[in-house]
Subunit: 227 residues, 2 copies
DNA sequence: AAATCTAGTTAACAATAAATTAATATTATA
DNA sequence: TATAATATTAATTTATTGTTAACTAGATTT
């Protein structure tokens, strides 16, 4: 079982806030990524796939509400905690934030220690649900074998069974070259006999469906995942 | 064991607060019980077995911290949400409350609407994790295993036993692909032998009865709930 | 008890998607 | 450049699932 650190994305346009919150979250053992506005928050979220996103309401480009709404409409972020921060201390925003799918709503000025406490409290509560060992993630590419789907930059790509299994095999060990024989025995099984071009065709379909260069041909040897 | 309307216990020594919070929680569909001090809160908690307990910090007999600590040391209240209320707006109490196992910490004066919002947000997040919940809700689809019926958009759809159990199995873990074998052993049992098309026919009946696309076929693998 | 339901299953066939092949083009490298 | 390996494309085959209707065994009603 992999024990990756819990990942948190902070989006705020005030560098001071980002810095102090990052510092405290890091100290508490979280892996932190940052964004300075709403658009960057969405971009980073897709790539970083955080377990929790802290959103300032008042941000340039897209405000916290808009980002929250977007995240909640995207299946990739189903299980992602969203914490909203704001200097506005009004009831309506508070309720709106929670109704848009926020998990916590905190008024500024906020003590970093309290923020960290609140976030741990949230994680403590959802802990049992967060134990995904069957999911690979390489940058903005998520390969989820429990759901049999791949998400690239927030977009779901449905691969057929063999395609998926082939991609999963390669991506589980990025950089390692798999011989054609290895691929055949792992994905097709030892007793199955298929023609020369079968692997190539499947590789091609993966390349076309994902639209990125993530599988490299090592001529005369085999293929490797390289992204 | 949880029963259907979500139960909330409020403990506060100020009758006015109790009254106004009860009113709003009731209106939001929760079943409410009250206690006027810490000792009564513990007693009532044992009897009433609430899903959520709202505790004022400053109470006679035993204060909110003490009650929280007691509840958290008792397995009966493992999954019970604890919300702490206080007029003291100091960082140390806030952190202490969360560290003692509180799920939320709210400063008075509190708007009842905000309180209700925060509590629904907590439940929304917790629901999927609680395996003992008998009623699933995914968007406008409610799957009630006590009554063996599903409600979609307010309209009741009666599924037969096998249909219901199949839907329930899938919907309990949305997105997860269930292999045909898993479905067979979970719904039909390990020793039952049925033909190839039995699952398909049941899936079809669910699809027809509900009239929505909520079960996705993953060809060569199985089925998943996806709505 | 006979008739009528109902859920569950099966079987035959249709429809669909996936996997494979085959033919040809392209590429890398000895 | 020659050639072996891989890429590409479309056609074909195969596997899997969808659909329908009929059948069976219990339950329920008359």
């Amino acid at each position: 079982m992999e024990t990756n650190p819990i990942k948190i994305l902070i989006a705020d346009d005030e560098p001071d806030i980002i810095e102090i919150i990052s510092f405290h979250l890091n100290k508490a053992g979280y892996e932190v990524e940052t964004a300075k506005d709403g658009s960057e928050a969405i971009e980073k979220a897709k790539q970083f796939n955080p377990d929790c996103i802290i959103l300032d309401i008042m941000m340039p480009k897209r405000n916290g509400f808009e980002v929250c709404e977007f995240l909640r409409s995207n299946k990739q972020f189903d299980k992602t905690l969203i914490v909203l921060l704001t200097a506005l201390n009004d009831e309506a925003s508070h309720i709106k934030g929670l109704e848009l799918g926020g998990d916590d709503f905190i008024n500024k000025p906020i003590s970093p220690k309290v923020l960290v406490s609140r976030i741990s409290a949230l994680f403590r509560r959802i802990q049992p649900a967060t134990s995904e060992t069957k999911t690979l993630q390489i940058k903005d590419l998520i390969i989820d074998s429990e759901q049999y789907k791949t998400i690239l930059n927030g977009v779901v790509h449905v691969l057929a069974k063999k395609e998926f299994e082939l991609l999963y095999l390669l991506a589980a060990q990025p950089g390692r070259v798999f011989l054609r024989n290895e691929i055949l025995s792992q994905v097709w099984g030892n007793d199955v006999i298929v023609g020369d071009r079968t692997i190539d065709v499947h590789i091609r379909k993966i390349r076309v469906k994902l639209g990125i260069e993530c599988i490299t041909t090592v001529k005369g040897v085999g293929y490797k995942f390289d992204y």
